[in-house]
């Protein structure tokens, strides 16, 4: 119990500071008191100013991150199954090639990618943000899922197939549910990464209606040129973190339980 407390305090103390700062008035932003005095919603009002289009940007982020996660899970599951269960030539090479793609600094592929998407007329579209996020997520997703699928004893599937399941059914009813913690974690990781992606989302959109939340936040300004919009950035930081936490709390039970229930049946 002490351990849990220590971990939680370590993780949440700086976040607490973020929340507190977000409730200070702009003019008190340098304060170091444990609670804001006076409390102020100034920063939140600023964030929700219709001109900022912040809600719209959250919705865009949801679309981009949601689509990325769904696609990444499907595609990576297929590939990871092949890696974990099938024997085919160049397997190691493919697996190495996949991981190699996550070794190039993003700053260096933005310009070529921008040219490519400009040619395809993809600027200001969701796919221009989903495709890169997908490709950043896939290597990790494939590797995690491969590691988890490998952990599931092959005998289980064989037993199921003897009972009359097809290979696909055996996979869906036995392997996936048992690997649920791994699948779920992959989903969270993919979603968070896509939700927070900034450089690509910034470069591929110039229409405010298409921008994602991190891009919208980068456009916050103080009331004058040099004034740092620290308060509203922190407020926005709190706001973009909340959906993720809610998602985890609400869905983790359902996903884990649901899949496991299917397996035990």
């Amino acid at each position: 119990m002490i351990g849990v407390t220590v971990v939680i305090v370590f993780c949440l103390a700086p976040f607490y500071w973020m929340v507190v700062s977000s409730f200070r008035r702009t003019s008190d932003i340098f304060d170091k008191s444990a609670l804001p005095s006076p409390w102020s919603l100034e920063n939140y009002t600023a964030v929700f100013d219709p001109d900022q289009g912040f809600l719209r940007s959250m919705a865009n982020s949801l679309v981009v991150a949601g689509t990325t996660t769904a696609l990444a899970l499907v595609i990576a599951t297929l590939t990871a199954y092949a890696m974990a269960r099938l024997d085919f030539p160049f397997k190691r090479l493919v697996l190495t090639g996949i991981i190699a793609t996550s070794m190039f600094p993003v700053v260096s592929i933005v310009v070529p990618l921008l040219k490519l998407f400009t040619d395809w007329d993809w600027i200001n579209t969701y796919q221009a943000m989903v495709a890169p996020s997908l490709s950043f997520a896939l290597p990790l997703a494939v590797w995690i899922l491969t590691a988890f699928f490998r952990q599931i004893p092959i005998e289980l599937e064989q037993a199921a197939m003897i009972d009359g399941c097809t290979q696909g059914q055996a996979f869906r009813r036995i392997v996936l549910p048992l690997a649920a913690p791994g699948v779920f974690t992959t989903a969270i990781i993919t979603f968070v990464a896509a939700w927070n992606e900034f450089l690509i989302a910034l470069s591929m959109t110039n229409d405010a209606a298409m921008q994602t939340a991190p891009v919208a936040i980068s456009k916050f300004t103080g009331a004058s040129q040099f004034e740092t919009p620290f308060g509203s950035q922190m407020a926005a930081g709190v706001l973009v973190t909340i959906p993720l936490v809610v998602l985890v709390v609400v869905f983790q039970r359902r996903i884990v339980d649901g899949l496991t229930a299917g397996a035990v049946k």
Partner: protein, 320 residues
């Protein structure tokens, strides 16, 4: 799989290869278009130098000169000092951050795994640092590490965290560990959750102490998940950019990483040298990953864990 398994071996192999290719194709396709193509472009770009300026007209030249491997060769002259410093910083920051993240992450995972009630909430709690966008986290820490900020209010003395020196490195490591230890923790926790309870209980019945159980049962079983987590943390940390850039600042010798260097070159419209740094970083990361997989992680891709499998078979029977 029985269908495949029951066929003659050569036929089975061909069928398996065809299915394998089919299942792998989507991943390869996405990666080829979105990453591999721009990467090849960047490699090509690295063979070109910066444009010159025409002293008469004052205009920058239309084309970039082809310089072959000059952008690489220059690293071995005195002009390469900044590069070697950045490489050393990158290795230092990666090494210390990842080492601390492993220890903390595994600790977090074990603690979360044992928490009986409110596991979902605890998990959401430790997820928070990692869920906040990096740019915002870096701003938050910059504020905390201000000369007149929270860190100096809590700690004795006044350390100028964002000025050059070891303290700047430490600030980056601390902030990075805070942000990404939960990532390792989450993956290890997932690894713990797929270990059948019976395994641990059997060991307990056999009289193994908790430290022994951790070392000889739990850790080997979460090894695949841990290795994947560490591998990807290393890959990510080697490309570290936002945290030192926002928290400490650009062009600071103490914390400038290879990614920052590549960014600085490209933003000064020297795409060739910038691309060259990116290519070197790529090769370096590749070698590290290769060594990593060779030394530690054969069982990440290979057919290890046979012992695990037979133990798990017991559980299979339970479920069946």
């Amino acid at each position: 799989m029985t269908a495949v398994l029951s066929r003659p071996p050569s036929d089975r192999r061909a069928g398996s290869a065809r299915l394998g290719a089919l299942l792998v194709a989507p991943t390869v396709l996405v990666l080829a278009v979105v990453v591999a193509y721009p990467t090849v472009q960047a490699v090509w770009q690295s063979l070109y130098g910066a444009r010159g300026i025409d002293p008469e007209s004052g205009f920058v030249d239309d084309t970039e000169p082809f310089v072959g491997l000059d952008n690489y060769a220059v690293l071995f002259t005195s002009a390469g000092d900044r590069f070697w410093n950045a490489l050393a910083n990158t290795v230092f920051l990666t090494g210390t951050s990842v080492a601390l993240e492993i220890v903390l992450g595994v600790g977090m995972a074990l603690i979360m795994h044992q928490a009986l009630r409110g596991r979902g909430l605890v998990r959401a709690g430790i997820l928070i640092p990692w869920a906040i966008p990096t740019a915002i986290v870096a701003l938050l820490w910059r504020w905390i590490f201000n000369a007149d900020g929270l860190a100096n209010a809590i700690l004795p003395g006044q350390v100028l965290w964002t000025s050059e020196g070891l303290h700047a490195k430490l600030a980056v490591v601390f902030a990075d560990v805070w942000k990404t230890a939960p990532f390792v923790g989450l993956l290890v926790l997932a690894g713990l959750q797929v270990i059948p309870k019976e395994v641990d209980e059997a060991a307990r019945v056999d009289g193994a102490g908790s430290w022994r159980r951790l070392r000889s049962i739990t850790l080997p079983l979460v090894k695949p998940a841990l290795l994947v987590a560490v591998l990807f943390r290393v890959l990510d940390a080697l490309r570290m950019f936002d945290m030192p850039y926002v928290l400490i600042g650009a062009r600071k010798e103490s914390v400038e990483t290879l990614s920052m260097l590549a960014h600085d070159e490209a933003s000064n419209v020297r795409f060739g040298p910038g691309a060259a740094y990116a290519v070197i970083l790529f090769v370096f990361v590749f070698l590290v990953a290769f060594a990593f997989v060779k030394l530690l992680g054969a069982d990440v891709v290979g057919d290890a864990g046979k012992g695990v499998r037979s133990r798990k078979t017991r559980r299979a029977k339970v479920i069946a």
